[in-house]
C-alpha cells in the first residue's frame, strides 16, 4: 500500500513536470532542457514572495505562480523566438545554454544553501494516515491534487477554448495555422508561459516537500524520459509515461538497489526508444535532420 502511495506521489511529480516538456514540444517542436532550471527559478520565486508577503501564504503562492508565468513569457520574448525555424540542435542547445545561465544567476542571487520555503510560509508538513496503513505527507497530497487540477485545466483549455484550439493548430501545421491568421509568436509565447507556470508549480511543491536545493534540477532532468516514454506531443501520454517511469523507479529501488534511482528513467527511456521511438501515445513523425 505504501508503495502504491509512493508511486502515486512520484508519478504526479513527474507528470506535473512533464506537461511543460509536452506543451513546449507540441507547439514549438523544441525540447526544452532548461526546464529543470525554470522549475528551480519558480521555487526561488516562492522563496522570494514568501518573505515579501509574510503571513499571507496563499497570496505568496499565487504571486509566485504569476511570476513563473511571466518568466516563461519573458524567456520566449528574449531568446526562444529567435530560434523558431533554426535547426533542432541549435534550439536544444539554446535551452541548455539558458539553463546554465539561469543556474549561475540563481547561485549568484540566492546562494547555494538549502532553503525551506515551507517554514517561511509558516506551514507544517503534516503526515496523513490513509486506509490500508499507508501514510502520505500533506504536500504529497497537494501534489497529487494539483497535478489532477493542472491536467484537467489543460485538457479543458486545449479542447474548449479558442486559444487552446489555436495552440493545437499551430502544433499540427504551423504554416497553415499562420495562413489562417493565427499569430504563431503569441501561441509559442503562451506555451512557454504555461510550461514554465506548471514547471514552476512543480518546483514550488517539491521545494515545500523536500527543501529547495540544486537537486531540483536533476529531478527536472529525470522527468523528461517520462515525457518521451509517453510520447512528446501527447498530454495523455505524459500521464501514462510518468506512471510507467515512476512505478519502475519505485519498484526497482524497493526490490533491487537504491543506487539505481538516478538511472532508472533513462533505462526505461532507452527501452522505449528501441521499441517505439515516438512513445506510447505520440504521433509517428518524420523526424527532423540536424
Amino acid at each position: 500500500m505504501q508503495i502504491a502511495v509512493n508511486i502515486a506521489v512520484l508519478a504526479s511529480i513527474y507528470a506535473l513536470i512533464c506537461c511543460g516538456y509536452v506543451l513546449i514540444y507540441r507547439a514549438t517542436r523544441v525540447l526544452s532542457l532548461a526546464h529543470g532550471e525554470l522549475m528551480m527559478l519558480g521555487a526561488y520565486g516562492l522563496y522570494a514572495t514568501a518573505s515579501l508577503f509574510k503571513g499571507h501564504p496563499l497570496i505568496a503562492l499565487a504571486a509566485a505562480a504569476g511570476l513563473a508565468l511571466a518568466v516563461g513569457l519573458a524567456v520566449y520574448a528574449a531568446l526562444m523566438w529567435r530560434m523558431t525555424g533554426e535547426s533542432v540542435l541549435a534550439a536544444v542547445l539554446a535551452t541548455i545554454a539558458l539553463g546554465i545561465l539561469l543556474r549561475g544567476a540563481m547561485m549568484l542571487a540566492f546562494g547555494t544553501l538549502t532553503q525551506h520555503p515551507l517554514r517561511d510560509l509558516g506551514w507544517e508538513n503534516a503526515s496523513i494516515g490513509l486506509p490500508g496503513g499507508a501514510r502520505i505527507s500533506a504536500v504529497g497530497a497537494a501534489l497529487i491534487l494539483s497535478t489532477g487540477l493542472v491536467y484537467g485545466g489543460l485538457f479543458a483549455f486545449l479542447r474548449g477554448t479558442r486559444w487552446g484550439m489555436r495552440m493545437r493548430a499551430a502544433g499540427q501545421n504551423p504554416l497553415l495555422a499562420a495562413q489562417r491568421g493565427i499569430g504563431l509568436h503569441g501561441i509559442y509565447a503562451l506555451s512557454w508561459g504555461l510550461a514554465t507556470f506548471t514547471g514552476g508549480l512543480a518546483g514550488m511543491l517539491i521545494a515545500l516537500d523536500a527543501g529547495l536545493e540544486s537537486t531540483l534540477v536533476i529531478i527536472g532532468l529525470k522527468a523528461f524520459p517520462a515525457a518521451l516514454v509517453g510520447g512528446l506531443d501527447s498530454l495523455v501520454g505524459a500521464l501514462a509515461g510518468s506512471l510507467v517511469v515512476a512505478s519502475a523507479e519505485v519498484l526497482l529501488i524497493q526490490y533491487v538497489d537504491p543506487l539505481l534511482s538516478d538511472v532508472v528513467p533513462f533505462f526505461v527511456l532507452l527501452a522505449m526508444l528501441v521499441v517505439r521511438p515516438w512513445g506510447l501515445f505520440g504521433t509517428r513523425e518524420e523526424l527532423d535532420r540536424v
Partner: protein, 357 residues
C-alpha cells in the same frame, strides 16, 4: 584548402585539389606555427604550460565531436560518457591488473569503439532530437556504471592512477606531457583531415546533407553512421585515457553533463563543420574561465565575489553560448572567414555567387 585566393592562383593537377596545404605561403606559415608550438614549453611559465596541456587534451575530444556532429550530422549529448569510459577503462585496468599504459591505451580505444557501436545503434532508427536524447540516456548509464564500480570496490572518492612509465622514465613532468599531448593532438588532427578527404569523409558529409540522396548515390547510410560513431568515440576514449593519466585521478563526478555541454560548446563556438573551428572552440572554452577570473581580478571584484567565482563562470559561459547561437551561428570560424573576406575582397563586400569558394 578550398579558400579563394585573391588572384593568379590556378590549380593545374587533380592532386592539388586534395593537398592539405596548397600554397608556399601556407606551408611557410604552417612551419612557423609548428616551430612556435615546439618552442612554447621553453618560454611559458607553469600556469601557461598547464593551460596549453589542457587545451591540447580537450582538442582531441573536440575534434572527435566535430567529426560526428559537424561533419556526419549526428547529434550526440553523450560525449562525457565516452570520455568517462576511456578514463574508467584505464583506471580499472590499472587498479585491478596494474596494467601499463601500452595496454590500457589500446584497451580504452577498444572500449570506446565498442561503446561507439552501442551509441550509434539508436542512430539507425532515430534522428535529430530523439538521437540526442538516447545518447544523453547512455551518458547517464555509463556514469552510473563507473560510479557503481567506485562504490563497490571502495574507491568512493575516486581511483588514483600513477603516471605512465617506460622503463625507469615516468611521464610526470608538465613539459614532457606537453610534447606527448602535442603529438597526440597533431596525430588526431592529421587523421581527421585525411579521413575527411577520403571516401568515408565524403560519405559522412553526404548523409549530413540528406540521407535519401546519399543512399541514392550508393552510400550505405547505416555503415556511414556507425563508422562516424565508432571513429568519434574511439578518439574520445583515447582522450579519456590520456585524461586519466594526466590528472592522475578518475572519478565519476568529473564527467558530469556539464562536461558534455562544454564539448558541444567547443564545437558550436568554434563553428560547425570545420576542424579549425574545433581547435579555436577548444582554446576559447578552456581558457574562458581563466579569462573571467583575470577580468574579475582586473576589475577588483575578486575579493567581493571570491565565494561565487564558480557561479559567475557558469552564467558567463551560458551567456556566451547564447550569444554565439543567436548572433554568430557559424562560430569563431565564421568571424575568421568574414575577416579574411573583408581583406581579400576589398573594395568589394560580397563573394561572387559562382566560382571558387
Amino acid at each position: 584548402m578550398n579558400v579563394a585566393r585573391s588572384s593568379g592562383y590556378y590549380r593545374t593537377r587533380y592532386g592539388e585539389d586534395f593537398a592539405l596545404l596548397d600554397t608556399k605561403t601556407q606551408k611557410a606559415w604552417c612551419a612557423v606555427f609548428v616551430a612556435a608550438l615546439l618552442a612554447y614549453p621553453f618560454v611559458a611559465g607553469p600556469l601557461a604550460l598547464d593551460l596549453a596541456n589542457q587545451v591540447l587534451l580537450a582538442s582531441l575530444g573536440a575534434i572527435a565531436l566535430m567529426l560526428l556532429t559537424g561533419y556526419a550530422g549526428q547529434i550526440s549529448l553523450g560525449h562525457a560518457g565516452l570520455l568517462a569510459a576511456g578514463a574508467f577503462t584505464t583506471g580499472i585496468l590499472f587498479k585491478e591488473l596494474a596494467a601499463p599504459f601500452w595496454l590500457t591505451l589500446p584497451a580504452a580505444a577498444l572500449a570506446g569503439a565498442a561503446l561507439g557501436v552501442i551509441f550509434g545503434l539508436p542512430s539507425l532508427r532515430l534522428r535529430g532530437l530523439y538521437l540526442a536524447v538516447s545518447t544523453l540516456a547512455l551518458h547517464f548509464i555509463v556514469i552510473y556504471a563507473g560510479g557503481e564500480y567506485e562504490t563497490r570496490r571502495g574507491f568512493s572518492t575516486g581511483i588514483i592512477v600513477d603516471p605512465p612509465r617506460l622503463g625507469d622514465w615516468a611521464l610526470d613532468e608538465p613539459r614532457a606531457w606537453y610534447f606527448v599531448l602535442l603529438a597526440a593532438a597533431a596525430a588526431t588532427l592529421l587523421f581527421a583531415a585525411n579521413l575527411l578527404r577520403s571516401r568515408t569523409g565524403r560519405a559522412w558529409r553526404a548523409i549530413h546533407g540528406r540521407e535519401a540522396v546519399a543512399a541514392a548515390l550508393g552510400i550505405s547510410v547505416h555503415r556511414a553512421k556507425l563508422s562516424a560513431f565508432v571513429v568519434s568515440s574511439t578518439i574520445t576514449a583515447i582522450a579519456g585515457c590520456l585524461f586519466a593519466y594526466y590528472r592522475g585521478f578518475v572519478s565519476a563526478e568529473a564527467f558530469s553533463l556539464y562536461l558534455t555541454i562544454e564539448y558541444v560548446a567547443m564545437v558550436i563556438i568554434g563553428g560547425m563543420g570545420s576542424l579549425l573551428g574545433a581547435l579555436l572552440g577548444t582554446v576559447f572554452v578552456v581558457l574562458f574561465p581563466y579569462a573571467i577570473d583575470a577580468a574579475m581580478n582586473l576589475l577588483g571584484l575578486a575579493e567581493r565575489l571570491s565565494s561565487v567565482v564558480f557561479a559567475v563562470n557558469y552564467s558567463a559561459f551560458g551567456l556566451v553560448m547564447i550569444l554565439f547561437l543567436v548572433f554568430e551561428p557559424q562560430g569563431l570560424v565564421g568571424l575568421w572567414r568574414r575577416a579574411q573576406d573583408w581583406f581579400l575582397l576589398w573594395p568589394f563586400k560580397q563573394r561572387p555567387l559562382a566560382g571558387p569558394r
